[in-house]
């Protein structure tokens, strides 16, 4: 959140535009509300429906195509493997992290590592976006000509 605010504050100071800042503040509430739906529900649903080949196949998956029965079976197995992996690794990671509960020092370093990873990836995105924006601003007059 803080990392996202830095470029917007910069934008505010440089171009005297408060509008993006207000949009981010307001948008953050809905983003927060919908983030579990994006992160959990859509991910899990797509994983659980990975064997659904009923769309975009122009009826190839319908009965009468013996070859596609095997294809469907293959996808079902793939779905089973993926869902099993997802559940298994989530349980393992949750158990490991929660078992660190009594040791604050370890929990701090685990959390710190996670924050560094997430912050690093977001920071990289912001950095690339800033570079892109600066290049765009520099080149924009030349393109207009």
């Amino acid at each position: 959140m803080v990392i996202y605010f830095i470029p917007i504050l910069l934008y505010w100071f440089l171009f005297c535009h408060v509008h993006p800042l207000c949009e981010v503040f307001l948008g953050y509430i809905s983003f927060l509300f919908y983030s579990p739906a994006y992160l959990n529900i859509l991910n899990i649903y797509s994983l659980c429906r990975i064997d659904d080949i009923s769309w975009g196949t122009k009826g190839l998956d319908s009965a009468g195509f013996g070859k596609n029965a095997a294809l469907k079976g293959g996808w079902k197995l793939l779905k089973f493997v993926h869902v099993f992996k997802y559940v298994f690794w989530n349980i393992i990671v949750a158990a490991v992290l929660l078992s660190l509960g009594s040791n604050y020092q370890t929990r701090f370093w685990v959390t710190f590592g996670m924050v560094v990873m997430i912050g690093g990836s977001v920071g990289l995105k912001v950095f690339v976006a800033l570079v892109y924006m600066m290049l765009y601003k520099i080149r924009a007059p030349k393109i207009a000509e």
Partner: protein, 102 residues
Amino acid sequence: MFTVHIAIEAFRQDVLSRWLASAVSATVLDFFVYTMDFVYVMMIASILFYSLHFKNSAKQFKSKIYLVSTLLGIFMMIIMGVLMVDIVRGLISNSSCTYYVM
């Protein structure tokens, strides 16, 4: 899950333990934290279960997933609020909080 647990734990330490320390035993407060963890896990498990058994157009799927989505959204906003208050309190005062979460 980890974030949820930390937030509920922080809420228990900073709010429940202070306000209800005389009325409720520590075991009951611990039970509260694990109950919330359990509720969260059950919500995720219900998404998994309904996704495996129903298509997105099914009536049962729609109602349950909308409910779980709303509950998770509310959960997330509460967690964000709790963590925010905890971080600010930890920064401005000598709080008993020992978690450092963004």
